[in-house]
Symmetry: C2
Subunit: 411 residues, 2 copies
């Protein structure tokens, strides 16, 4: 991409020799280094900068966890592990990657409805913290702990009696499959005591992908108040309180980045209040998308340029089988374009034109950009989809139409 | 599932010992045989019956192709290959499976925008028919054919100047990435002549998942008329005309199965007319979903039963990572429930209750049934999602949250 930048998010990937770069490497050179397209590229510098940005605003007394589900690429997890205070996993598969990354099991937690017995065994054997989601899990854990001769470290994932307002995804409030309803928690705490499990605290996750700091602050205040209330029935002191995450990133025109400083200031008050009401409790925020989403791009190569009845179609070797969310088919009610740019190796300024970027699949759903303003592109040029570091490669139907798998690199 | 059947589609899977069966095997026994849940099970008898049902109504002179994209499981393709007259592939990966299945390359065709050079080489080397989608493909083919010393067998995939009305997916009409616009076909035919490629005919695919026979008949009539018109400029006789498919299956309440007999009668007229205007041309219809969709079920096991604020959630070991379409996240604008039933090993009649079936993922999108009337279920019971033989395992984000891969069996 030469000439002016067309998306604010592109500024994270500075021009080198007039061309967008990832990790300081011009994209066409990076594509050659990867060996084939399409691929995802994640930028170490941006990952580190994002953690730094958070550390600057988060008060002492707030631990920062990485929710691996957003991007479980082992190289990414290895890189993030020493930068954060803990990892949150969502399956036995993710747990293996977290342990491989060398994270202290004490600082790994596991949430997810429907954990299998195998996963519960993995968790107890590893010594990680289980965010328990049902009475059934509690009852299964007692014999597992006994058999392995290890404590079952448990926190209760609470389905709160409030929700995170204006969230992309509501994950608390009302009837939900996640966690134990707040009003059933006293009974669960009694069960933990009866079964002699190692109670450590609460996990209160109310939503995700939120761009309004005041909504996040309000949810944190409510989560702390709920935890303090529930702690009255706990069999021991609360050692950890996971306040969830919910920090969103902007994907679409008109969306502004989340303001962090009000959240930082608000969390300072939360830390103070927790110090009084839950003394000794570690306060955790758990972020996935916010840590990695903006550090990654998806790169495909233009295979064909077609003009059909006056409209330009750039047919690429990538598509929804690698990047379902960018195609608009992952939870979106109305399809909107992710920020997309054309990257050409040459440095001459190209004309802009309106074009659609499609993939190689035999379905009209395979659409990465719907009639966007882009630099004119020819076969061989690259197309970049920004904001692609989270819920990309692993959240896409890779085997659809039996095309080659997407590659991932950390640069 | 004991007691009455609650979905008409369930009747395809008769009760054996009071329990739903696939391929004559009661489901709980099948689950034991597979070894673990979740899995897809496809029924050989139903696949064969569906082909038989079509053969009964299709006139002589219509060839029946299987579009592998709907379900490329090698065992399914192996089973279908001798039952049909040809296979249609959508990638180099599918082509390998088609060849492994022993299908005569003469009867394999390959459509898809953005074919890679490697795929074009594969096609020419194999001797299959390429449904060419752009001028670029034509120009790339000439040197490939020369280098390999093999003819490049080509048909033109036409983006028609009409569309298939009331289709789930429109794939023709208006500006599209698929095929060559009808009005550009004469130029493409001239190019085929100039490049000395082996012209064989046309492929006119206007839409899919249609439940209205009159819409399909109308599209076939228009496709034939268009082919006849375009043939005037062809460098040789039309040897094959692929009329597309579009035959839908009912997924949701209120949808009625497609009526086949009017289509069969209509195709008899098409055959007659083609005999006059395109003498010697093989007429092909290409079906994917219609052949396999109703022959398959997705089976998951209930891991947990939770009551949250008065609503019942059956948490299973399967979910959207295996069956994206059933979760409502694959092209659907409004989420609707697929037909779902609970299957219990016992033969006692269970009470019905309203329950939601969810998966193990940490996202509210992971929903297989939203507040449906189901037999009451307990952990260990099985949940069956019907109408799951097409666009299931391969059209889902298998790696999402790093859960185990889904298994597939042909019974």
């Amino acid at each position: 991409m030469s000439g002016p930048r067309h998306h604010a998010v592109a500024d994270r990937f500075p021009l080198v020799d007039g061309e967008l770069s990832v990790g300081g490497i011009p994209l066409s050179l990076l594509a050659a280094r990867v060996g084939s397209t399409p691929f995802y590229a994640y930028d170490r510098g941006l990952l580190k900068a994002r953690v730094g940005q958070l550390r600057e605003v988060l008060p002492a007394g707030i631990s920062l966890h990485y929710a691996m589900k957003a991007n479980p690429m082992p190289a990414v997890v290895d890189f993030m592990a020493p930068l954060v205070d803990g990892l949150d996993v969502a399956s036995g598969g993710e747990l293996r990657v977290a342990l491989d990354a060398g994270m202290d099991p004490h600082d790994i937690s596991f949430a997810g409805p429907g954990k299998s017995e195998t996963e519960l065994v993995q968790a107890v054997a590893s010594g990680i913290l289980l965010n328990v989601e049902s009475m059934r899990e509690l009852r299964l854990l007692a014999p597992i702990a006994q058999r392995l001769g290890r404590p079952a470290r448990v926190a209760i994932r609470v389905n709160p009696d409030f929700e995170l307002k204006s969230s992309g995804m509501k994950m608390g409030g009302g009837p939900k499959q996640f966690g134990i309803d707040a009003e059933q928690v006293p009974a669960a705490l009694a069960e933990i005591a009866r079964l002699d499990l190692a109670f450590e605290g609460f996990h209160i996750f109310s939503g995700s992908q939120n761009l309004r700091s005041e909504a996040i602050c309000e949810a944190q205040t409510k989560a702390l108040a709920l935890a303090v209330r529930l702690a009255a029935d706990a069999p021991g002191p609360v050692k950890t309180l996971n306040l969830g995450g919910g920090f969103g990133i902007p994907y679409f025109p008109g969306e502004a980045p989340l303001e962090l400083s009000p959240i930082g200031e608000h969390l300072a008050g939360i830390v103070e209040s927790a110090g009084l009401h839950l003394p000794g409790a570690e306060l955790v925020i758990e972020l996935g998308r916010f840590l990695v989403g903006e550090a990654g791009v998806y790169v495909a190569r233009v295979v064909d340029r077609k003009v059909s009845r006056g409209e330009v179609f750039l047919v690429t070797d990538g598509g929804l089988h690698h990047h379902l969310a960018a195609s608009g088919n992952f939870g979106q009610v109305i399809r909107k374009n992710y920020p997309v740019e054309v990257v050409t190796a040459g440095s001459a300024t190209r004309q802009r034109e309106t074009a659609s970027v499609v993939g190689p699949l035999c379905t009209p759903l395979d659409l990465l950009a719907d009639r966007m303003s882009l630099d004119t592109a020819e076969p061989g040029d690259l197309v970049v989809v920004f904001q692609s570091g989270a819920y990309g490669a692993t959240a896409s139907p890779a085997r659809f139409l039996s095309h080659p798998a997407v590659l991932e690199v950390l640069v």
